[in-house]
């Protein structure tokens, strides 16, 4: 009896982690790219919400969910480019601009999203990976959206690109020392602008997952701070794309503990599991703030580590 309850919870957590982690993955990878170039974008919450709205609207109007995903990326690209451009100007505080972009993005999404709260748009299909197990709960948990795999492949490509390509090296160098990037004839502003815009694009796609797959509809409370959590996630993952995937899965699983315990009748502490990633990240920041090992992994130009 006890065993089956534990298994139920574990399967629910696995399913929850796979379902919930995809938006975390995309905002996390986007933020990782931006921060690697030495800039922070606190506005990804806005990209996520606007992306979700755009994806739903475009999917509804065009009848093609993947077109919605692309449009969501485009809206994220727009906000990311806006952030990147404004931060290029001298004397502008990038953290404050991030919050501004967040409120601008959510404002736009709520404004244009009003007519799309009711209708039902075509949604993304999942790939059933668990049918062979013969276990209904497990099969349901293993209904995986293709975007999940796109995120994982993207992380591997990013990790490889940071380490092995000329572009990856330029981004890392710009993030570590603007002076040496300039000495090499690299335009710091331009690299950061591109990295911020590309990061915004990824966050927009994360938003598309929210409205087109899980929870799978558009409403104003769709993203409860998941975009802001990206900042915590990247610190947690110490600026490594592969670790971003693990962190996203962990954050997703933490969020799924509450509901899965509820399914076997334990309803206490629901909200603390949701807060667990924040508490964990805070402790990691405290523990690593003045350690030399962590300092090696942090992009040197990043304002949040100074």
């Amino acid at each position: 009896m006890m065993d089956s309850a534990v298994i139920t919870v574990l399967i629910a957590m696995l399913g929850g982690a796979i379902r919930v982690s995809t938006p975390f993955m995309f905002v996390g990878l986007g933020e990782c790219l931006t921060e690697k170039s030495g800039r922070i974008n606190l506005g990804l919450e806005g990209n996520l919400v606007l992306g979700a709205m755009t994806a739903y609207a475009v999917s509804y109007l065009s009848g093609n969910a993947w077109l919605g995903v692309l449009a969501a990326g485009g809206s994220g690209l727009f906000l990311g480019a806006l952030h990147g451009y404004i931060c290029k100007l001298p004397k502008v505080n990038d953290i404050a601009v991030g919050i501004a972009i967040m409120s601008f993005g959510t404002g736009l999404a709520f404004f244009f999203g009003k007519p799309f709260i009711q209708p039902t748009a075509p949604r993304l299909d999942a790939i059933a990976l668990g049918d062979w197990t013969g276990n209904a709960a497990l099969a349901q948990a293993l209904q995986v959206n293709p975007l999940f795999f796109v995120g994982i492949v993207l992380a591997i490509v990013m990790r490889w690109a940071f380490a092995n390509t000329r572009w990856g090296l330029i981004v890392r160098m710009t993030g570590d020392s603007a002076a040496s990037a300039r000495a090499m004839g690299v335009s710091v502003d331009w690299v950061r602008f591109l990295a911020t815009a590309a990061g915004g694009f990824l966050a927009g796609i994360g938003g598309a997952f929210l409205s087109l797959y899980y929870p799978g509809s558009w409403n104003q409370g769709l993203s409860s701070g998941q975009g802001l959590m990206a900042v915590a996630l990247v610190i947690f993952a110490r600026w490594d794309p592969i670790r971003c995937i693990w962190a996203a899965l962990l954050f997703g699983a933490a969020g799924a503990i509450g509901p899965s315990l509820q399914s076997i009748g334990i309803s206490q502490g629901y909200y603390f599991f949701n807060a667990a990633p924040y508490i964990l990240t805070l402790f990691i920041m405290i523990a690593s703030a003045r350690s030399k090992g962590a300092a090696r992994e942090v992009p040197g130009e990043l304002s949040i580590t100074k």
């Binding site: 409120s103 959510t106 807060a275």
Partner: protein, 369 residues
């Protein structure tokens, strides 16, 4: 680095230079507001609405009648307090964005401590005083913790205050859904209502609650503290150059933590007024985004506590007009959010203009005294 410099402007006796400096800090934000209004008008024209109608409605909804003025001031009160919660640490060079959490936790603490006091029929005046003090203490400790982590552990205060903000909201939800839940609150889990007898009343001659009075008084008090006392001077000096401040033997740790605690106390007090004057209990309505709008208010006020008051009233008016715009023009209630977002983005972009407009830059040499 803008924030650090904003609080540290060299004083000069030359009246001409001072006037130009003052003119710069007024003209640039006002110019940004005008530019935002123009951009938003463009937005309205694109979607086929009349900008003139819109701004006329904002005026009517914000200041057009005694009722709308009171509505405006009602909404301005928490914005003043959360604006101060960003402005004061900004003077010492800290970007604290966790005002929302301090507001929520302060409001929750006030509602929680009211439960035993109300049930044992302590006098309303004493109960409210204890509630307010609790809210300020809890909020102050919460943001003070971010300050402590910054100074003694080197943890970035922006991110830590943001994380603390989410933890605060989780703490409130945990208790409101569990141990402190009023069984009667079926759809919206809340703490026990404090009861009408314990609600905070309106100020004399108005329907506006005392939060507005507290906001104005605190703004003046914090202005005096930051610009007319040794404490304020030391804080601004630390904001300008922390290394120099340490070298001068200033108590930097004390200054940082105190400024953060003041900020948290302001936000916590805002939470107290939301509970004691508006909702009568603590629930998810406390998470209304006042903490984030307060950041915008503080930026437009150039981190000057006195300027926070009129700016908060301006944003109170925009928020108050939202309902009217929705009804009369058939536009979504998020319209004012778009306007706020545009103002926020344009305003921060305008920061780049400081010191770059020739007109405001007095020539060197002759003007130096």
């Amino acid at each position: 680095m803008t924030i650090a410099n904003a609080g540290f402007e060299p004083r000069t006796r030359n009246p001409n230079v001072r006037t130009l400096k003052l003119a710069e800090t007024v003209v640039i934000p006002v110019g940004a507001l005008v530019a935002s209004a123009l951009l938003f008008s463009l937005f309205l024209l694109v979607i086929g609405q009349s900008p003139i109608d819109f701004f006329a409605l904002v005026w009517v909804g914000g200041f057009g009648s005694a009722f709308s003025i009171q509505n405006t001031l009602q909404r301005a009160a928490p914005l003043m307090l959360t604006g101060l919660a960003f402005a004061v640490p900004a003077r010492i060079g800290l970007t604290i964005i966790g005002g929302e959490g301090a507001l929520v936790l302060g409001g929750f603490a006030a509602a929680a401590i009211a439960i035993p006091l109300v049930s044992s029929a302590v006098a309303p005046g004493i109960t409210l005083a204890i509630m307010a003090i609790t809210a300020m203490l809890v909020g102050g400790c919460w943001i003070g913790l971010a300050g402590w982590l910054k100074h003694y552990r080197g943890v970035n205060e922006t991110i830590s205050s943001l994380l603390l903000s989410y933890i605060a909201i989780a703490i409130m939800n945990f208790f409101v859904e569990g141990a402190l839940r009023d069984p009667a609150s079926a759809n919206k889990p809340s703490t026990m209502p404090i009861g009408d007898a314990y609600r905070i009343g309106p100020m004399p001659f108005s329907d506006v609650h005392w939060g507005l009075g507290a906001g104005v008084v605190l703004a003046v008090a914090l202005y005096i503290l930051m610009s007319r006392t040794t404490f304020g001077f030391a804080a601004r000096m630390t904001g300008g150059n922390p290394r120099a401040a340490l070298a001068q033997g200033l108590p930097v740790g004390f200054l940082v933590i105190t400024c953060c605690a003041i900020a948290g106390a302001c936000a916590g007090l805002a939470g107290f007024f939301e509970v004691a004057a508006i909702h009568g209990q603590a629930n998810a309505s406390l998470v209304a985004g006042y903490g984030f709008t307060g950041i915008l208010v503080a930026f437009l006020a150039r981190h000057n506590p006195l300027a926070v008051v009129p700016v908060a009233i301006l944003f109170g008016a925009i928020a108050a007009a939202g309902g009217l715009v929705q009804r009369r023009m058939g536009m979504p209630d998020a319209t004012v959010l778009v306007l706020q977002g545009i103002i926020f983005v344009v305003l921060l972009t305008s920061e780049t203009l400081y010191g770059r407009i020739k007109f405001f830059q007095p020539g060197t040499g002759a003007d130096r005294t």
